[in-house]
Structures are given as structure tokens and as C-alpha cells.
């Protein structure tokens, strides 16, 4: 295994985060904190509890998940798209690195950044809202698993995209609505039965539900199903990445 190669890609991507701290870390932390201020402290104090959890605390897992998903996709897609855009991808393609090593470098760095960001957001949330973490191991496991899965998804988007618009279209037009409708601000039990059934087709429901269970021990769907769905999506992304490298789709002519 070319560990030096993996390390080179990983360090390069992490250095990019350090160069753009305001955009990579400060901006998502501030925007998520605004949700905590508005929905947690201000409006939240006037809203009733959900499943015996204060509203401000209830929305924390969903909001962390929102940032985690968006940042994982954005970091990984940008990480692989930029070398394609600038032409420096020639070096990665001509290097003695396997596709597994390329993915480890890019996705590993993207996932690391997202996990760091998720933890910072969680710590920041503590300043505005009081919350518990009943299952810290599972909370961290969900955080890491989701970061890896959606970084892989972002990596696929970055390879597929042939312009900056395409790079943005899936996170903004698909992922954001799915997160907002996936139980970030409400429990899906609160929806009419038809919409509860519809919600079960939203993969983000399982992520948020599982993540919230790790915090408060309550969930919309069984935690085992949440883990299973996340692993299934991860596997689907892995198969897609394997196919991309096998065929050279949008990488090798």
C-alpha cells in the first residue's frame, strides 16, 4: 500500500482547510449557532417539549446532522473537483496509487474535517442549549459513519460534476430539503399518517433518528434500522466509487 501517497493527499486536503478556516469552519459554525439562538433559546423556550425533551435540545442532533451532511458533501466534492477543474488531477492519475488509496486520502480528509466541525458545533450548542448524550460511543459512531458515507457521496458528486453549478445542485436542491423534511425540527410522529409513511422513504430520517437516539434514547425508527440504512447507503456509495475507478468515468479518457 502506498501510505505516503495517501498521506500526501490527506495532508494536502487538510492544509486546504487550514488555509480556508473562515469558510471551512467559522461559517458553518456561525450559521448553525444562529439556529440554536433562534429556535433553541428564543422560540424554543415558548414551544412545548417533544418526547419529554426541550425543543432547543431536540433540534440539536438534526442541526448537527445538517452541517455534517452539507460539509461532508461539500468538502469531498470540492476536494476532487478542483484538481479536475485546474488540471492537477493528471498527477494523481499518473501516480502509483490505487483507487482505494485515492479515496482514503480525499474522503478521509473530508470526513475528518466534517467530524471536527460536528464536534465544534456540538460544543458551541452547549453555550445556548442544555443537552445530554446518553450513548456517547454511538453518538460518535453515527458522527463518523455519516461523515464517511456522505464524504463518499460528495466524492461521487465531485467526479460527476463538470461545472460549479452541478457541484452545488445536489446539496442545495436535494440534500437540504431532505434534511429539513427528515425530522430535524420535529418528530415524524407529529405528522399525519400518510406523511409519516412518505417520510420513511427519506434516508435522512434514519440518520437523524439514530443520532437523536444516541443523545436522548428516543427515536422515530429503531436504531438498528438507522445503522442498517446508513451502512446500506455507504455500501451503495462504495460500489459507485468502485465502478467510477474501474471504468475511469470522467477521470480517464
Amino acid at each position: 500500500m502506498n501510505l505516503y501517497g495517501v498521506r500526501a493527499i490527506y495532508n494536502f486536503e487538510m492544509a486546504r482547510m487550514r488555509r480556508t478556516l473562515m469558510q471551512s469552519v467559522a461559517a458553518p459554525v456561525i450559521s448553525t449557532s444562529l439556529y440554536f439562538v433562534v429556535f433553541g433559546s428564543a422560540i424554543g423556550s415558548r414551544m412545548g417539549d417533544i418526547d419529554n425533551i426541550s425543543y432547543g435540545a431536540f433540534i440539536i442532533p438534526g442541526l448537527v446532522m445538517l452541517s455534517l451532511l452539507m460539509q461532508s458533501i461539500s468538502n469531498a466534492s470540492f476536494g476532487i473537483y478542483m484538481p479536475k477543474f485546474s488540471g492537477t488531477i493528471y498527477e494523481v492519475l499518473s501516480a502509483p496509487v490505487s483507487y482505494v488509496e485515492v479515496v482514503l486520502g480525499y474522503v478521509g480528509a473530508a470526513a475528518t474535517k466534517s467530524v471536527i466541525l460536528g464536534i465544534i458545533i456540538l460544543l458551541t450548542a452547549r453555550l445556548f442549549v442544555d443537552y445530554d448524550v446518553l450513548h456517547p460511543f454511538w453518538m460518535f459512531a453515527f458522527l463518523v459513519l455519516t461523515a464517511i458515507t456522505f464524504s463518499l457521496f460528495g466524492f461521487i458528486i465531485g467526479i460527476w460534476a463538470d461545472g460549479f453549478e452541478k457541484l452545488q445542485i445536489i446539496p442545495l436542491m436535494i440534500v437540504t430539503p431532505l434534511v429539513f423534511l427528515g425530522g430535524t425540527f420535529y418528530s415524524i410522529d407529529m405528522l399525519p399518517e400518510v406523511w409519516q409513511t412518505v417520510s420513511l422513504f427519506n434516508p435522512v430520517v434514519y440518520l437523524i433518528s439514530g443520532f437523536r437516539w444516541a443523545f436522548y434514547g428516543v427515536s422515530d425508527v429503531h436504531v438498528g434500522i438507522s445503522v442498517g440504512m446508513t451502512v446500506m447507503f455507504l455500501s451503495a456509495c462504495m460500489v459507485a466509487v468502485w465502478w467510477i475507478f474501474k471504468t475511469g468515468y470522467r477521470l480517464r479518457s
Binding site: 495532508n11 502509483p96 479518457s253
Partner: protein, 337 residues
């Protein structure tokens, strides 16, 4: 007892001996094998365009090989395939004795590529970019080597500068530094001196010669034919995806080159005298110059005969000039055939 045990361990069928024999076999192979071996290589793009057609090419270890061809002839496609950037449609390519598909790691470790375009990460520093390339190619950090490469390429004082602040020529040198960062055995230079001033071009030629002296095989594509003429040991010409010629440079120059003898006459001629009608002679428009063209390899009797005939005709001349055709003229002749 220890020796007996060691001998027993190193029996012919022991894994150590098998590995050793395989290693020796590979090393022996390397001495006879070319550094780059291309056999029946074809490249057809998804839209059906055939970029390379049955390419067969061997490039010897330690030589400077210039690959010449007009735009769109297939030079960059060929390089891209050998370096792993493009997929093979059919055929076989080996680099440093390793198949570029089956043994891609070993093959790519031995190759450095300086691409035609200046692809750089603008926000990275010079040092960071070169270190990244070395790591990517599986080599442990070697600050001493990177320092040497940067000094050789006059980039040492810019090592902490961001790439965006470099001039075009510096960026070109940086591309070379990145390609040399992992100490490759084979170096591809795809139009390395495009957009580079004359002085820097001369420096680069010098650097390429030094690399060759250190045993690096260099494959060069260039639009400056004088560059190939100056540096190459062998020349390959590619046209419409086919290699139409591979020849030792000096042999090519003597085989396909022309010589020209110009006689500046004392008095102008109106027409070429009948006695010279069968000779390959032309008369300049003003009638003051007789131009005699002959093959480099042709025996010199023609020149003596020409001068004798002029003497017999009392045609006096005040000056004689000779010139040989350049590689550029030969190249233009080849690709226009």
C-alpha cells in the same frame, strides 16, 4: 552448523532463492529491455476517433528521444497512456520493464511527467507542491533531495512563495521539479519549453543533458525542432496516430537531409546553360546565383563536375556557400508527404 543451516535454508527451491532468481532475472531483463516498450498500441476514443493506430516503439535506457509530430498527431495521447492518464484500447506498454496495467505501481514509480499545460495549485507553496508530488509517488520525505532539485532549477529562493506569485517560466520549472521529486528513471517532457525565454530554454537543455548523464531516459515532445536537433539522440515522427519514422538523429540528418551549394556569379545569367540541364541546378531570379542541391549522403563528384563545367563555360564566380538542411526542413518534408 550455522552455515549448513543457512545453506539448507537457501536451497534452490526456497522462497528466498526464488525471489532472488526472480530479482536477478528482472535485472538481467532490464539490461536488454528498452525502458519504454510499446507494442501494437491502439487508442480509440468513445466517439470512435482513432487517436493511435498500431504504435510500436522501443525507447532505450538513458537516451533522449524526441517525439515530433504536428498538432493532433497523437503525441500527448501516447504519453498520457504510458503515464496512466488515459486508458489503452488494445496493445501492450511496458515502462522500466513493468506492464503499465498489471504492474502499474512499479511502472508509474519509474516515470516522471512534465505535462504540456501549466497545471498547478495556485495557493500551494513551491516547497509544498514538490513535497506533495514526492509523497504521492510513494517516496518518504527527503528535504535534501527537494532542496537540490529546487536549487538546480533556480527555484530555491522561491520555495516559500505561493505558486500564484510565480512567473510563467518559474511555473514551468516547478512542473519539472515536481516531476523530478521522486527521482524517476524515465522523464516525459511534453513541450517543456513552450513559452519559455531563450536563456531559460538553454538552461533547461543543460539540465536535461545532466539528467541523461545520470542515466535518466528522456522522452521529449516539442514544437521547437531546433530543440530536438540540439538534444535528441533519436527522433520519432508521429503523424495521424501512426509512427512513420524512428531514427538515430545523426543518421536521419544524413539520410534525409539535403545539402545546398550556392555560387555567387560575377555576371548574371539569363538561363541555365544547356550543359547543366541534367544537373539539379536552379538559377536565382536576378541571375546572380546558381543553386545546386544534393543529398547529404551523395558522393561529392557532382560538385566537382559542376565546378568543372562552369570553368569550361567561362562562368566566373566570386563566392561559394554551402548549407545543410535542418531537422525542421526534414520534419516538414516528412509530415507533408
Amino acid at each position: 552448523m550455522g552455515i549448513i543451516a543457512a545453506k539448507a535454508k537457501l536451497s534452490k527451491s526456497s522462497p528466498v532463492m526464488r525471489k532472488y532468481r526472480a530479482f536477478i532475472h528482472h535485472q538481467q531483463d532490464k539490461t536488454v529491455q528498452p525502458d519504454i516498450s510499446v507494442k501494437h498500441l491502439n487508442k480509440v476514443y468513445a466517439d470512435g476517433f482513432r487517436a493511435l493506430n498500431d504504435i510500436n516503439l522501443d525507447i532505450k535506457r538513458g537516451e533522449i528521444f524526441a517525439l515530433l509530430g504536428p498538432n493532433g498527431a497523437g503525441k500527448t495521447t501516447l504519453i498520457s497512456i504510458i503515464c496512466g492518464i488515459a486508458n489503452i484500447s488494445s496493445g501492450e506498454v511496458k515502462a522500466a520493464g513493468y506492464d503499465i496495467v498489471k504492474d502499474y505501481r512499479k511502472a508509474r514509480e519509474s516515470i516522471g511527467l512534465v505535462p504540456q499545460e501549466l497545471h498547478t495549485d495556485s495557493f500551494e507553496t513551491v516547497w509544498g507542491a514538490v513535497s506533495f508530488s514526492r509523497g504521492l509517488f510513494g517516496k518518504p520525505p527527503a528535504p535534501g533531495h527537494i532542496e537540490k532539485v529546487l536549487k538546480d532549477l533556480s527555484l530555491w529562493d522561491k520555495k516559500d512563495n505561493r505558486i500564484m506569485s510565480l512567473s510563467g517560466g518559474m511555473k514551468r520549472r516547478l512542473m519539472i521539479a515536481k516531476a523530478l521529486s521522486h527521482e524517476p528513471q524515465i522523464l516525459f517532457l511534453d513541450e517543456p519549453t513552450a513559452g519559455v525565454d531563450v536563456e531559460l530554454r538553454r538552461d533547461m537543455w543543460e539540465m536535461v543533458r545532466k539528467l541523461r548523464e545520470n542515466g535518466v531516459t528522456i522522452i521529449l515532445t516539442t514544437h521547437y525542432i531546433e530543440e530536438a536537433e540540439e538534444m535528441a539522440d533519436r527522433i520519432g515522427v508521429i503523424r495521424n496516430g501512426e509512427i512513420i519514422l524512428v531514427e538515430d538523429k545523426s543518421r536521419l540528418m544524413s539520410k534525409l537531409g539535403k545539402k545546398e551549394l550556392r555560387l555567387h556569379l560575377q555576371s548574371p545569367l539569363e538561363t541555365i546553360p544547356g550543359q547543366l540541364a541534367l544537373e539539379p541546378v536552379e538559377l536565382s531570379e536576378d541571375g546572380y546565383e546558381l543553386i545546386y542541391t544534393f543529398d547529404s549522403q551523395q558522393e561529392q563528384a557532382g560538385v566537382a563536375r559542376l565546378l568543372r563545367t562552369l570553368g569550361d563555360l567561362d562562368i566566373e564566380y566570386r563566392d561559394i556557400q554551402t548549407r545543410e538542411s535542418s531537422l525542421e526542413e526534414i520534419f516538414v518534408g516528412l509530415v507533408n508527404e
